[in-house]
């Protein structure tokens, strides 16, 4: 798909009077930048997807873990670059998202801001517009979800609203691709003639005008570019953390003291300021909005009687999650095996036969290192796609917030937000979607915490290793041991969650304030694009790291002599012997643990190679039960549950946090944790004289 058209033919935009471009007095533009702003749950990402299609670029905001989406569309001879601002309820810097959104508007000065509002919650979603109007950028209002509003018997007259606000208002139903053309035209008109823009702006309540004027006088000429002075004064009064910090740095101590005493006297000024904005909004919509005289019992109310009920809600959640895992195992796992057999193994075979005359090391490098690594990336895809589609679907229909609501009391115990539950739960399948799914968690710290604890959720690959090893050592108690190991992982997750929350992330109480959007039909395009983007991100960014690491580990396992027993990897295992001795583990077990970094299943394969028994069957079982005491075996299993996740997860953590520092922190944390627990188990067992 090229970038030079809007991908959906229905939204092909052709201006019938394209010669208008050459009219005198109309400036010729080649490129304009449009920022897309809107609160959460107003359908902003649907609008963005329709405008940009596959021309999107997904990255992070510079230095932040928050996703930044940009894209382009073409209208006549203009290339329109669209920047999707984070969805925020306001432009007061309570969160990083809000700070990013408003800094972008103030510092980058886009040519036009498109503000999307939800017609079914008109007054509330106009709050962001009220804040945007306090800045000087031209705004086009996209009045979205008018169909949902009409289902609620709320009717809005766009022209009346337009007349009241004195800015372009475009009614739309983005989920049905209606109104897009009009939106693009309105943007073009405003961008070509910005001088025509003179909207009504919300005023300041009389009782605060004097205070505001006073504040503005004190800070005059001390406000850093490009912030407007009157806006800074207002944000100070609102208690905006970022602006307060900036001004405290800029002002002399005496002046700051004056400002500070004014702010102390008006501590709840935010209520008056927000109240005034809502009063203004009320006046703006009064003539345009017709609402039902009696409250409606809506579909959302009916569904929520069950979906958010403390008991039924849990059952609904369990049912949905059961379905997801059933899908994963009946569709995803067989696909994964097919890919492995017919693509990866067949590919390796083909390389071996095609290069039969080539040096052994080259064949090994390609067949085991490269194809092995690339193969793992590919075989991950079916399960990832299922999980991404599920996350996308639940988010899009509005269920995600309900799951968070039902689970919040449990997640709060760990310092986590209810929204962390679903991504973490998907971690039982695979940690990669858990880490990527943390994007649904609002707030930088809560998101980071979710990512950092995600590797402690026991994934299917780890459980597969347990399933092979536990029966060897514990016979008929294997199931008990397996459940115990899962329990151990979850207890560790809770402990690490609480500890990180308290010690590293400041222990701030996570206030539970969350909008529950109206349920609505899912939009296949939105979900499809999110699956596509996440899969591509995984393949591109994580894929390359996985490939490199798997080649490096392969090299370490055959160099210098070609045998794993005498390889560098074995040398590293031997270096760890003193540590292993504390857990009753020899160097071979340590090497097995190290190779699990490439893929958890490698543990078994490595043990098979190192003990010369092959992977399968009774011989490995006999040998292993001969070399390990039950206490050492338990220590080993606990360690492999808590050990560094596989390279795919590490690469994803790096990609999602955008920080090597946090990635390294996570690795060190898990190393220390797994070794400590392993040593504690073995030494504890020795102390009570069990299984040694």
């Amino acid at each position: 798909m090229t970038n030079d058209q809007i991908p959906n033919p229905k939204s092909q935009i052709r201006n019938p009077k394209s010669e208008a471009r050459t009219e005198p007095g109309r400036s010729v533009r080649n490129q304009i930048t449009v920022a897309l702003a809107g609160q959460p749950n107003v359908g902003k990402s649907t609008v963005f997807n329709l405008l940009t299609g596959l021309s999107q670029h997904v990255g992070n905001w510079p230095g932040k873990t928050i996703e930044q989406k940009t894209g382009t569309y073409h209208y006549n001879d203009t290339t329109v670059q669209i920047v999707d601002l984070p969805g925020t309820y306001s432009l007061t810097a309570n969160s990083l998202e809000e700070q990013i959104a408003r800094d972008y508007i103030i510092k980058e000065k886009p040519d036009v801001v498109v503000a999307i509002v939800n017609a079914a919650a008109l007054e509330r979603s106009l709050y962001l517009l009220a804040e945007l109007l306090e800045l000087s950028v031209p705004v086009v209002l996209g009045l979205n979800m008018t169909d949902v509003a009409e289902q609620q018997r709320m009717y809005i007259e766009p022209h009346v609203l337009e007349a009241a606000l004195c800015l372009p208002v475009v009614p739309m139903v983005a989920s049905k691709n209606q109104g897009m053309r009009e939106l693009v035209e309105a943007v073009d008109r405003l961008a070509s003639d910005p001088d025509s823009y003179d909207p009504r702006r919300p005023g300041i309540r009389e009782d605060h005008q004097a205070v505001l004027a006073h504040l503005q006088k004190i800070i005059a000429e001390q406000v850093p570019e490009p912030y407007p002075e009157n806006w800074v004064a207002l944000k100070l009064l609102e208690g905006d953390r970022e602006i307060t910090r900036i001004m405290q740095e800029r002002l002399s101590p005496e002046k700051w003291e004056q400002v500070h005493s004014i702010l102390m006297k008006h501590e709840d000024a935010i209520l008056a300021v927000a109240g005034a904005r809502y009063e203004w909004i009320g006046r703006m919509v009064r003539a345009a909005l017709v609402r039902p005289t009696f409250g409606q019992v809506t579909l959302t109310d009916r569904v929520d009687r069950y979906a958010t009920h403390p008991f039924w809600g849990l059952l609904v959640l369990v049912g949905i999650l059961g379905l997801v895992f059933w899908l994963t195992y009946t569709v995803g796992a067989p696909l994964q095996e097919l890919l492995d057999t017919y693509l990866v193994q067949a590919g390796a075979e083909w390389v071996r036969s095609a290069l039969s005359g080539a040096p052994v090391w080259l064949v090994g490098l390609l067949a085991d290192g490269v194809i092995g690594g690339a193969g793992m990336v590919v075989t991950f895809l079916p399960i990832l796609i299922i999980f991404f589609a599920t996350l996308g679907l639940l988010e899009d229909v509005g269920y995600m917030a309900r799951a968070a609501y039902v689970m919040d009391r449990f997640m709060h115990l760990m310092g986590l937000h209810g929204k962390s539950f679903l991504p973490l739960f998907l971690g039982f399948g695979c940690n990669v979607p858990a880490v990527m799914g943390a994007r649904v968690v609002e707030g930088q710290q809560a998101r980071l915490l979710t990512i950092l604890v995600a590797p402690l959720v026991p994934c299917t690959a780890r459980m597969a290793v347990v399933a092979v090893l536990a029966p060897i050592f514990f016979g008929r108690h294997a199931a008990l041991v397996s459940w115990g190991l899962i329990g151990l992982s979850l207890v560790m997750l809770a402990i690490v969650g609480i500890a990180l929350h308290e010690l590293v992330l400041g222990g701030e109480h996570v206030a539970f304030i969350m909008e529950l959007p109206l349920y609505h039909l899912p939009n296949a395009r939105t979900i499809g694009l999110s699956v596509w983007q996440r899969s591509v991100a995984f393949l591109k960014k994580a894929g390359s790291i996985i490939l490199i690491v798997s080649v490096v580990v392969w090299a370490l396992s055959v160099l210098p002599g070609g045998e794993i027993e005498s390889s560098y990897l074995a040398g590293m295992g031997r270096l760890l012997t003193p540590l292993g001795a504390l857990m009753g583990l020899g160097w071979r077990m340590m090497v097995a643990l190290l190779t699990s970094f490439v893929a958890k299943e490698n543990t078994i394969a490595t043990l098979g190679v190192l003990y010369g028994t092959g992977e399968e069957g009774a011989r490995l079982a006999d040998t292993l039960s001969g070399v390990l005491t039950p206490a050492a075996a338990l220590a080993f299993l606990a360690m492999q549950m808590l050990f560094i996740p596989c390279v795919a997860v590490v690469a994803t953590i790096r990609q999602e946090t955008g920080s090597w520092k946090w990635t390294a922190f996570n690795i060190v944390l898990l190393l220390v944790l797994s070794f400590s627990v392993g040593i504690a188990i073995y030494q504890g067992a020795a102390l009570v004289g069990w299984g040694v």
Binding site: A121, Y127, Q152, G239, E267, D304, Y405, I513, L516
Partner: protein
């Protein structure tokens, strides 16, 4: 209308209150005010089981609040005169 100020969390499901004060830090006030919890606005209690989080309808928006958060929102109960 009743003049007594009660925490939002004291409203039973189906009851309506008028927000009169938010008792919390600046960040808390700012987040709730932005979502539409400003003095004078009507809040419909949608779901309140007496413990755990609750759901309230404000300005056409369903907002889930933790019980601790809901205790910091003071309202006057609107009595039904029927």
């Amino acid at each position: 209308m009743n003049e007594e100020r009660i925490p939002l969390s004291a409203l039973a499901s189906g009851e309506v209150g008028v927000v009169c004060q938010l008792a919390g830090g600046r960040g808390f006030m700012s987040r709730l005010a932005t979502l539409g919890f400003t003095p004078g606005v009507e809040a419909n209690m949608v779901q309140n089981f007496g413990r755990g989080p609750l759901i309230v309808l404000v300005r056409d928006t369903r907002v889930a609040l933790g019980r601790g958060e809901a205790m910091k929102v003071l309202v006057r109960r609107v009595t039904n005169d029927q």
